[in-house]
């Protein structure tokens, strides 16, 4: 019998990136569900990337925060909701009474649903009376917001996903789309497959997986994008690729922008450390193709010149009137699932609500009138970095953090820890119990997680989709909007008596239409037609893109009062802190393919952890030589602000002078790998977005006496270990370790580490004492429970085979014989590190298949060993393996 489960499935959206893919979740008993792509969702048409595919593995209540807790004398104690909220309300009220509304703040998140976001923003700006509400979206796309507002008069992304298929050229700037937005990357890949003429240009200091698709890769010097696009503007003007009529009729500021941009291609090549032919090839193609999309992401936004970068790009579109037309436009690709929803409700410290402006008295009055609120914030609040500095300075005395982990993710993360540690009141609403930020909270409030919460999100193409619950609310967890509304009511505010979430959406939709006429307060964000949805209609809401039935700017009208777009003059400037002296290298940060943010969710999925189980620092082999570090060993990376430890890797994609470190690791997953601690707290003067992509650092040896790893079904206490990282495996935790102590009696040391006290335990060991090599495996009833491997060098056996043993209830004699070797002793080959997470196909398996069958395309590899056949995220890596293996074969044949 194979009954369809389809009727039981719930259509919702993925909680990861800004692509906003539709997901079908089918509950499988309590707190479990299977997940598949929603073929009816217009963002992904059923496709899911590896992270989305693994959503089912991230469910379950392990590690969840299920009850309110209050810290008393340093110890968290479970309390009732009433007690927790009463405490917060009392302290909050007292602080506001004594120090005014600007002494309290919210720090929220692009993980919130629009309705949650709306309530937080309304509470803070309309009732508390301060704009001290900022969000982690500040770290992500606030430069795009600011750029859009400067150019268009409103935060509008003038491109839709459909345009990708219509374009003749796609430029990707500072975007590793292949890893960070895989479904969009696959849409482009598919379009290019159908139309090989579709030109793809990647502009990125790193040679990322995205370059796999590129016809041209400009390995730009970090932070010099403005030179490149100023040069493009100059070039387009120079060859007459301009639309004088459009400029005259629909824009302002062209002359000043052109004057500020003036630069020759040769100068660009020098400033950006590029070859002039490559620069010209890019410019010529941009000029020759009318339909060009320039997708940009963190590499543009996370810069002290982020807003100027956005405007330098937009200028190149305005000059040819190439906005609001099919297949063309600047395309900000957002990082978070609901960054755009947050922008709609104005959930940033310098925005109001519904695309209305905080610094406009008429706007403030209109919103206050709509809310019928007692007050309205009159000046911009503190942006993320400033906010935590104000907390440390003591001017902000209470902060409520919702669904984010600033102690990891903000620049100068040590400063954030210091700030929180001395803050009078730190409230955190979260879904997990243990995070670096929660460790500093006075009050912890359990929130509903993905799959339990209900509301709407907006993706990068302005498409509003329902995120629907398919699991029961666990423990005492509550929706974020409900927590905030109940808090507001405790503070005595009217206007928060919502019975259900659709009422909030209705209010939000009505506010978007409030006085939204050409005569009053016109703005393009208007979803008034979605107002008035009742519960059933809201539940049935299909994905819908605003402006409804229109293409932004197709009519040449912009949202500035005069209806014109603005050229913004963008005189180029270098990143604030330049490399040199003690800190000779430039740190670039970013994401990995299979992880998301601080891994609180993705970290729970074993198949995601396998791709990169350990934090690393990627640098050029020659820089490694200069720093005295070697691939595979540990390095300490230090900046003026902090330091961390990571494993040295030569990924091959890094130019000399730069290093790359992923952002995901934190105090829960590693001893010392929060890259945020290093990042300079420098921000863009307009957007306030931090310069995550450019911090001068030094790399140095992290000398250790021994390297090791442990695979263990039970969690370990690692206080004594100098370096550790933890990754989730299937049925075990994987720890990578290194120590500075000399171990005398390895056996006793290992038993203590693994907490094995029984002398008669089934304990296998191998020791080469004089070489400092020790290995032990602990079994119970022939089932592997733990193993530990130690060596003075990082030459430990591969973990993949050992990891696979944790899936079996009984080790066979042959497996048992091999377990101390860390490999199967006779037949059965080691598959190597996982490349394809979906099918669990290892590198060796793939390389062997390529060699033995002379495979030349990734499709052939898929046909042969399945790898790459599901989500396709690993296809670039497979292509690389093909290239490497075939090159080796060719060399061997010579």
């Amino acid at each position: 019998m194979n009954l369809s489960q389809e009727h039981l499935s719930v259509r919702t959206t993925c909680p990861y990136c800004g692509v906003g893919c539709g997901v079908r979740a089918t509950p499988q008993g309590a707190q479990q569900a299977s997940v598949a792509g929603d073929t009816a969702h217009p963002s992904n048409f059923g496709r899911l990337c590896v992270k989305g595919s693994a959503l089912g593995e991230t469910l379950g209540l392990e590690g969840r925060l299920l009850h309110p807790h209050v810290r008393e004398d340093g110890v968290l104690r479970q309390v009732s909701w009433d007690a927790a909220l009463d405490k917060v309300a009392a302290q909050w009220r007292a602080i506001v009474a004594e120090h005014g509304p600007d002494a309290v703040a919210f720090y929220v998140s692009g993980q919130l649903l629009t309705e949650d976001y709306y309530i937080a923003n309304k509470l803070m700006k309309g009732y508390v009376g301060s704009a001290n509400i900022d969000t982690n979206s500040r770290l992500c796309m606030s430069s795009a917001v600011a750029g859009h507002k400067r150019a268009f008069g409103e935060d509008i992304v003038p491109v839709s996903y459909d345009d990708l298929e219509l374009a003749d050229m796609i430029v990707l700037v500072g975007s590793n789309l292949a890893w960070c937005h895989p479904i969009l990357f696959q849409r482009i890949a598919k379009a290019k497959e159908a139309r090989p003429d579709l030109k793809v240009v990647v502009i990125d200091p790193r040679r990322t997986a995205t370059c796999e698709l590129a016809d041209l890769h400009l390995s730009i010097k970090p932070g010099t994008d403005v030179w490149l696009f100023n040069g493009l503007l100059t070039y387009l003007h120079g060859i007459g690729a301009v639309d004088p009529a459009f400029i005259a009729a629909h824009t302002n500021g062209f002359d000043a922008a052109l004057a500020a941009a003036s630069i020759t291609p040769e100068e660009v090549a020098q400033a950006c450390r590029l070859k002039v032919e490559d620069v010209l090839a890019f410019y010529e193609a941009f000029a020759a193709n009318a339909k060009v999309i320039t997708g940009f992401s963190m590499g543009v936004n996370q810069s002290s010149a982020g807003t100027d970068k956005v405007n330098a790009i937009v200028n190149c579109y305005l000059v040819g009137g190439r906005i609001g037309k099919p297949g063309a436009g600047p395309f900000s690709i957002t990082g978070q699932p609901n960054a755009m929803g947050g922008r709609e409700v104005g959930g940033l410290a310098n925005m109001l609500a519904a695309h209305l402006d905080l610094d406009n008295a008429a706007h403030r009055a209109a919103v206050r009138e709509f809310w019928r609120s007692p007050t309205i914030a009159e000046k911009p609040g503190l942006k993320a970095v400033d906010l935590f500095q104000a907390i440390e300075a003591g001017t902000v005395k209470a902060v409520w953090i919702v669904a984010t982990n600033p102690a990891v993710s903000l620049p100068d993360a040590e400063q954030v820890r210091r700030a929180l540690a001395q803050c009078e009141l730190v409230v955190v609403s979260d879904v997990v119990r243990d995070t670096d930020t929660n460790a500093l909270a006075h009050v912890l409030l359990p929130a509903l997680a993905w799959g339990e919460k209900d509301g709407t999100v907006t993706n990068s193409e302005r498409r509003i989709s329902r995120q629907r619950a398919f699991l029961p609310a666990p423990g005492e967890a509550r929706a974020d909007w409900r927590i905030l509304a109940q808090f507001a009511q405790r503070l005595g505010y009217a206007g928060f008596d919502y019975a259900a979430v659709h009422e909030i959406f209705d209010e939000h939709a009505r506010l978007s239409a409030w006085r939204n006429t050409p005569e009053q307060l016109p703005r393009m964000f208007d979803i008034g037609t979605l107002a008035g949805l009742d519960r059933a209609a809201y539940d049935a809401l299909e994905p819908v893109r605003w402006p409804l039935g229109k293409t932004p700017f197709a009519d040449g009208r912009y949202s500035h009062p005069d209806g014109r777009a603005r050229f913004v003059a963008t005189p180029p400037r270098l990143p604030v802190n330049q490399a040199g002296g003690e800190f000779p290298l430039v740190l670039n940060t970013g994401r990995l393919r299979d992880q998301w943010h601080t891994m609180t969710r993705t970290g729970r999925a074993p198949k995601l952890a396998e791709h990169t189980p350990e934090p690393f620092v990627d640098l050029h082999p020659q820089d490694a030589l200069l720093c005295g570090v070697r691939e595979g060993e540990l390095a300490r990376i230090g900046s003026n602000w902090g330091s961390m430890v990571a494993r040295v890797r030569h990924g091959g994609g890094i130019a000399r002078g730069s290093v790359f470190i992923p952002i995901h690791w934190n105090g829960q997953t590693s001893s010392d790998a929060r890259v945020g601690a290093l990042v300079n707290p420098v921000v863009d003067p307009v957007s306030g977005e931090p310069e995550f992509k450019h911090t001068p650092v030094m790399v140095d040896r992290f000398p250790v006496q021994w390297h090791g790893f442990v695979l263990s079904r039970a969690a370990l206490g690692l206080e004594q270990v100098a370096y550790w990282t933890k990754a989730q495996g299937a049925g075990f935790s994987r720890y990578e370790l290194a120590g500075r102590n000399r171990i005398g009696d390895f056996g006793a040391w290992a038993r203590e580490l693994l907490e094995v006290t029984d002398d008669d335990a089934d304990w296998l060991e191998y020791s080469d004492r004089s070489a400092g090599v020790y290995r032990a495996v602990h079994l119970v009833d022939d089932r592997i429970v733990q193993c530990v491997f130690v060596s003075p060098r990082p030459d430990l056996p591969e973990r993949a085979w050992l990891a696979s043993l944790f899936a079996s209830e009984r080790l066979s004699d042959q497996e048992r014989a091999g377990v101390l070797a860390g490999r199967p002793l006779r037949q059965g080959a080691d598959a190597g590190p996982t490349v394809c997470s979906c099918f669990g196909v290892g590198r060796n398996t793939i390389c062997n298949a390529i060699r033995e069958n002379d495979l030349a395309t990734s499709a052939q590899v898929t046909a042969c060993v399945k790898a790459g056949g599901n989500c396709g995220s690993c296809v670039p890596e497979i292509r690389q393996l093909i290239a490497v293996v075939r090159a080796e074969a060719a060399e061997a044949a010579e």
Binding site: D762, L764, S767, D768, N848
Partner: protein, 402 residues
């Protein structure tokens, strides 16, 4: 007339030398062989399985009387040589038979060491050396119940195992605190003891026998500490002594055994010696592998094609107790500056220890899983540099990287 070769000793060493010689020079000598035992030549190593009932005497015969006839060898089994006259180049057997030699090969082997405690001559006290001893033990096992084996070495444990298989209650008495201390380190010895105890064997370690008790036949054993245990059969396996009386009487130079050079020649150029009765440099021999090599070298010289030299090499030991795998080779204790690799899997009964001397493998003790023993032996013999293999060494030959 062909020159005459006389071989004293119809055991494994002597007859292997003859076989090697026949292969090199089939018609060079008139060969006469004297043997003390009234049999053809048999494989002494396999007496343990015979005692254990796993093999019969016929199974272990190496050369039948027909074989001697076919090769024109005069065999005098059961007629030991009692005198050598090197002046006249004549040997005289117990029967009075005298045979002249041009070349003489001594392969007199060794005698079990019977501890000279009071009572050691009582009926029921046996050694474990030849077919006669095995027959005596088998007979005792039919009529008696309690056996004591004195000596917890290789041979003692094999005897004890065989007697147990024959239905006797067996106690092994050993003078030190660890079994097989010539071949095993302590952890391996402990595993071995535990495994044998599980089968019902009993052990008295650190036990010094002071007297064998009994009047008509052995009834028990008394120890130095005054304690006593009952026994109907006592098997002495406390080592062997090279059998050199004949050579000494003939005036050949002997120390612990008959001293030979690298060609297996004694101080009399007409007289060669091989096997357990010889001393080469400082070493005497008890294992078969070096003796095979001696036979090869000696035969080459007897054949007149002598260019080989005997070089001492480590030789592996295996315990022949069914179901218990022990393998030991080389310097398994190690000394100053040596390093070791150790693997323990107590539950599976596996213990392995490799001793390294600088970049080379010096010795190995394997317990429970001995299949890589030959590989280690080979590495030791070759003196291979194992630096690159070190981390894999204990897990066996690395399969060719995929």
């Amino acid at each position: 007339m062909k020159p005459a070769l006389v071989v004293i000793g119809n055991g494994m060493a002597g007859m292997r030398t003859v076989e090697e010689l026949l292969a090199l020079a089939p018609d060079l000598y008139d060969i006469t062989v004297f043997g003390a035992e009234p049999h053809g030549n048999y494989n002494r190593i396999l007496l343990s399985p015979v005692l254990a009932g796993e093999k019969t005497v016929d199974d272990i015969m190496l050369n039948t009387r027909e074989w001697y006839a076919e090769h024109g060898i005069a065999l005098h089994a059961g007629d030991p040589v009692e005198h050598i006259d090197r002046q006249r180049r004549i040997v005289r057997a117990r029967s009075g038979l005298e045979v002249r030699y041009d070349r003489l090969l001594l392969a007199t082997g060794s005698k079990p060491f019977i501890i000279p405690v009071p009572g050691h001559q009582l009926p029921g006290v046996l050694a474990f050396r030849d077919i006669g001893d095995v027959e005596g033990m088998l007979a005792a096992a039919r009529d008696h119940r309690r056996a004591v084996v004195i000596g917890g070495g290789l041979l003692g444990l094999e005897a004890a195992n065989g007697l147990m298989r024959q239905g006797m209650e067996v106690t092994v008495v050993h003078v030190t605190d660890a079994l097989m201390n010539q071949q095993l380190d302590k952890p391996a010895a402990q595993l071995l003891q535990a495994a044998l105890e599980k089968r019902g064997m009993r052990f008295l370690l650190d036990a010094q026998t002071s007297e064998i008790v009994g009047t008509d036949r052995v009834t028990g054993i008394r120890f130095k500490d005054g304690s006593e245990i009952a026994a109907d059969l006592v098997v002495m396996t406390a080592g062997v002594r090279p059998n050199i009386a004949l050579a000494q009487a003939a005036g050949l130079h002997c120390e612990r055994a008959i001293v030979v050079d690298d060609t297996l020649q004694t101080y009399d150029p007409r007289v060669y010696a091989v096997g357990e009765c010889v001393q080469h440099r400082r070493a005497t021999f008890g294992l078969v592998a070096p003796i095979w090599e001696q036979a090869r070298v000696c035969a080459a010289h007897l054949a007149g094609t002598g260019h080989r030299r005997y070089v001492q090499q480590a030789s592996p030991t295996r315990l022949k107790v069914t179901g218990i795998d022990v393998y030991s080779v080389g310097d398994f204790i190690g000394g100053e500056g040596s390093e070791d690799l150790v693997l323990r899997d107590a539950r599976r009964g596996v213990y392995k220890r490799l001793v390294l001397d600088g970049p080379r493998l010096a010795g190995a003790v394997l317990y429970g899983d001995v299949q890589d023993g030959p590989w280690y032996f080979d590495l030791i013999q070759k003196g291979a540099d194992i630096t690159a293999l070190r981390h894999h060494l204990l897990f066996g030959p690395v399969p060719q990287a995929a």
